[in-house]
């Protein structure tokens, strides 16, 4: 295609050039012929004069001003053409009235143009060699194409540069957006933890050089979870957004306000000592004071703020973040407000972290032990069951209190594994006892988070089958507050347990939000009165009344009652007289390892036997 196009274009160019040349020559020849008519000496003019009448002398006049070479060739040509066939042909064509054309003499192409000289008998014929002229259009074309090419390439390069520049700018903007997205919180537009960390590190470097302090505040919203749960997540999000805005507008531009996730915010004051940090925290509390309007609802939240100062409370960013966090938890424990990190009150911060990883190992290696505290039936004195209590004998720190490591397990997400371990070990123990002919009801404590673990019923069912434990021998103890967090899910799980035939008990009854509605609705069969009421019931009439009322209430609802914390004989007798179903406490036995329990049981039977006989 390209070749054909090229050939056609080339031919057109050549034709055009020849035509143009012929036209120019024609004008020239006509002008010359008219001049010649007035001149005496035709030899002054270039061309070839011939008479129109046949027989007359013909002679050739060379064109003036032509190159010597041309003159020579034309003069030799003049001699040869008179007799040539071409000459005859040309003469014939002129006689026929043609003005111009192409002719070849001695192998060379010529343009010929003829014009009558005046009214005389002469015709001026000019031959113009075509060869040079033939190639000139190609040359011209080449030059023009080169020029056009230069322009086109120039424009193309510029265009490409401009386009690439624009594209690059767009890409840069896109990348910048990505970086911004990676470092900023989507909801509030505040920096994320990563960016805060970076800025904190820089602030520390600057403080090192400038010998000043850096203040880091970590803030948590009190009751935010409640707002989220009761009003919905969109309200919670809206609240966070409003808080972010408030902080952003009210605080100095040099401070970094970051959202660490959830309802946790951090404020970094690159040049602030403890006093200024407390002022800043006060300001934040003030800012948060007025209630927020969310979807036409007035919501007010108060922050708990923890403060850590460089270099007093930590030499690096990690340490500062951790200590500010600890301070925040301290203030939360004190019921909100502001607290500056106090190293003395946090002797366990590092220890706690080690404990978390140690606990993980302990759960994995099953190095946690179960102790069992017996429960007796006061009327018969028989042991009716035991409560399984996890004990962790830390290789370095010794025995760790359950409330301590259970809290760690809950906070570090290990509670599920821990509970499953306890269930497994308890069932295994039950199985072992059963084989020796001892059948004891085992009570197992469930944490609040276990109640929301929808896979727990399936796990328990599977373990019951594995260890061949009758479901009626297992009692699951839950606290009232555990059910409050997500009652619907808790109830679903409790119903599942009940359907499996497991016993359910409410632990620490009376300390939480004791709701009688729960007692009625939930598939619970046992109530455990909290030891705080039982321990002092002999001295304290109020406690005695509560215990009495609880026992009556439970009995009226068809529930059985366990009294925890029986520490002396008087309490035991009092509970016995109140008709309490089961008793548990140090007076009877403290929690003991399984083998010791068996020894205790044997001894007891002996003493009981002695007593009864």
């Amino acid at each position: 295609m390209l070749i054909i196009f090229g050939a056609v274009t080339y031919q057109l160019a050549v034709d055009n050039a020849v035509e143009k040349e012929t036209r120019l020559l024609h004008h020239f020849v006509i002008k010359q012929a008219s001049l010649l008519a007035t001149q005496a000496d035709p030899l002054k003019w270039g061309g070839w004069l011939r008479t129109t009448s046949p027989g007359n002398n013909e002679y050739v006049v060379l064109r003036a001003g032509e190159a010597d070479q041309l003159q020579t060739s034309l003069s030799s040509l003049a001699k040869t053409i008179t007799d040539s066939a071409e000459h005859k042909d040309l003469t014939k064509r002129i006689a026929a009235g043609e003005h111009s054309g192409q002719v070849e003499f001695a192998g060379n192409p010529y343009i010929w143009v003829a014009a009558a000289v005046g009214t005389g008998p002469y015709t001026l014929v000019t031959l113009h060699p075509l060869k040079d002229e033939l190639f000139s259009p190609i040359k011209a074309l080449g030059v023009r194409m080169t020029a056009a090419g230069v322009i086109i390439i120039w424009i193309a390069v510029w265009g490409a540069l401009i386009l690439s520049g624009l594209f690059m700018k767009r890409q840069e903007k896109y990348n910048a957006d990505l970086v911004h997205q990676a470092l900023h919180d989507e909801l509030t537009g505040l920096p994320k933890r990563k960016l805060l960390y970076d800025r904190l590190q820089r602030a520390i470097y600057q403080a090192q050089r400038g010998k000043h302090c850096v203040a880091l505040l970590i803030m948590d919203l009190d009751r935010f979870k409640e707002i989220n749960d009761t009003l919905g997540h969109h309200c919670g999000d809206e609240l966070l957004k409003q808080i972010g805005n408030r902080l952003n507008t009210a605080l100095r531009k040099s401070d970094t306000i970051a959202r660490l996730g959830g309802d946790e915010f951090a404020i970094l004051a690159p040049e602030g000592d403890a006093e200024q940090a407390v002022q800043l925290a006060n300001k934040v509390t003030q800012i948060m004071g007025p209630s927020h309007t969310i979807h036409e609802m007035e919501v007010s939240v108060q922050p708990s703020i923890g403060i850590a100062i460089y270099p007093e409370h930590g030499e690096d960013a990690d340490m500062l973040m951790r200590h500010a966090d600890v301070a925040m938890y301290q203030s939360k424990q004190q019921g909100g407000g502001i607290s500056v990190y106090v190293p003395e009150s946090d002797p366990h911060s590092l220890q706690r972290l080690t404990l978390i990883s140690d606990l993980r190992h302990a759960v994995e290696n099953e190095s946690l032990m179960l102790y069992y505290q017996p429960e007796i039936d006061p009327s018969s004195g028989n042991v009716t069951g035991v409560e399984a209590l996890a004990r962790w004998n830390h290789p370095k720190m010794g025995l760790i209190r359950p409330d301590e490591f259970i809290q760690i397990a809950e906070k570090s997400g290990q509670i599920k594994a821990l509970t499953e371990l306890v269930i497994r070990q308890a069932f295994q123990q039950h199985h072992a006892w059963q084989r020796t002919g001892t059948s004891l009801k085992i009570s197992i404590n469930l944490s609040a988070r276990n109640l929301h673990d929808m896979q727990l019923p399936a796990y328990i069912g599977q373990q019951l089958a594995v260890w061949n434990v009758p479901p009626g021998d297992i009692c699951l103890e839950i606290t009232e507050s555990a059910m409050l967090i997500d009652p619907a899910r808790a109830r679903q799980n409790l119903t599942a347990f009940d359907e499996m035939g497991l016993l359910l008990a409410i632990d620490d009854f009376g300390t939480g939000y004791s709701s009688l509605a729960y007692l009625k609705q939930l598939p619970v069969s046992i109530i455990k009165i909290d030891k705080s009421f039982v321990m002092d019931m002999v001295q304290d009439e109020n406690d005695a009344s509560i215990v009495r009322a609880t026992i009556d209430l439970a009995h009226n609802l068809g529930l059985r009652v366990v009294a925890e914390g029986v520490e002396n004989r008087e309490t035991l007798s009092a509970l016995q007289s109140l008709g309490c179903d089961f008793l548990q406490g140090y007076y009877i036995s403290k929690p003991v390892p399984p083998d010791e329990l068996i020894r205790w049981l044997t001894n007891r039977q002996v003493t009981l036997g002695v007593a009864t006989s």
């Binding site: 011209a140 020029a147 322009i151 120039w154 540069l161 401009i162 520049g165």
Partner: protein, 84 residues
């Protein structure tokens, strides 16, 4: 004032400007001084204009295309320090 502005936006380096001067001179020769070589008048004028643009860029040291494309053939410090 103008000189300061020019310095501020300068983005063509010395070698760049020398090359542009040579190219510009050649293009102006073919565009305006000897347009017969190209033959086509419009083309010749275009070539000449391009030559002029090159000479202008060479004199000022500011290439608009470089500005858009974000290219700089001179050291950044040249422009900034002399611009300040």
């Amino acid at each position: 004032m103008l000189a300061a502005t020019i310095r501020k936006y300068r983005n063509a380096g010395v070698v760049d400007r020398i090359i542009r001067t040579i190219i510009g001179a050649v293009l102006i020769y073919f565009g305006f001084i000897n347009p017969g070589y190209i033959g086509q008048g419009f083309l010749a004028v275009l070539v000449g204009i391009m030559g002029l643009i090159n000479i202008l860029v060479a004199i000022s040291g500011i290439c608009p295309v470089y500005t858009i494309a974000g290219i700089r053939t001179c050291r950044a410090s040249d422009a900034q320090s002399s611009g300040a």
